[in-house]
Symmetry: C2
């Protein structure tokens, strides 16, 4: 068991967006990902992908919030109280955000993307291309999530 291991990361990029507050959840908005200049070569070929995964650090989550074990999804008390690993809440032991975004443009070290739900100044940890293997087939989700998905699609 290596539970005692401590892991140190350095951001590779930072998010730039004009969205504030809940506006960041608007999936039609675009933001920019400004990659460290010394890493620009690591972007070669990324523009061939229409979608990428963005892993980012939810730097506003406090040490106390990281200790949260259960939440109501989206803070809605009409939905069941669930373990944080059964939800996409930001309150989790290692608050890493994971979002699939549409990659619109790559210019030097600046990526323009659509659908990134991260605040201005958010540190980015990794960028990964999204491919057909990432589209899991025959997926099953709980009833509470089916309900949310139905509401969103209306």
């Amino acid at each position: 068991m290596v539970f005692e291991e401590k892991i140190l990361l350095n951001p590779i990029a930072v998010v730039k967006t004009e969205a504030v507050g809940n506006e960041v959840k608007d999936k039609t908005r675009t933001s920019q990902i400004i990659v460290r200049e010394e890493l620009v070569d690591a972007l070669d070929g990324i523009s061939g992908f229409s979608h990428i995964f963005v892993l980012f650090w939810l730097s506003q989550i406090s040490d106390e919030q990281k200790k949260t074990l259960k939440v109501h999804p989206r803070g809605r008390i009409d939905l069941p109280l669930l373990g944080v690993f059964a939800t996409r809440t930001q309150f989790r032991p290692n608050p890493i955000g994971l979002t699939i975004v549409e990659l619109l443009k790559v210019e030097d070290n600046v990526l323009t993307v659509r659908g990134l739900d991260a605040f201005d100044g958010t540190p980015v940890l990794d960028l990964k291309p999204y491919d057909h293997w990432d589209r899991a087939e025959n997926i099953k989700v709980p009833d509470w999530l089916m309900k949310l998905e139905k509401e969103k699609s209306q």
Copy 2:
């Protein structure tokens, strides 16, 4: 810009598998994810999902390997030399692995999953439910990847 920020993580779980070497790439194999006992409540409700994202730490990647900027995908020199962010190589500035696995069983703090390409003892950083929003539509990938996908499906 917050490029100078240092981020410290603690593993929430560890991978247990009998697979060694390239056997971990066999997507039909099962492994176990042993979650820290004090986090067991954070798993409540996860069994309602058929698939989850596993974020793990590629602890075997050296500081020197983290500086890699370009690779041939899967080490194949018949494929173009690409930036690491355009590939899923393990050699990346923050070597975080991201895999979608099938969730077969949850017993107390032990998850049995299929398709996790991580070595025995790998520290796990986060678990996230996979939902319909994670299935991006109309995705486009470069020709070199189309070629690889075609080979795999044969």
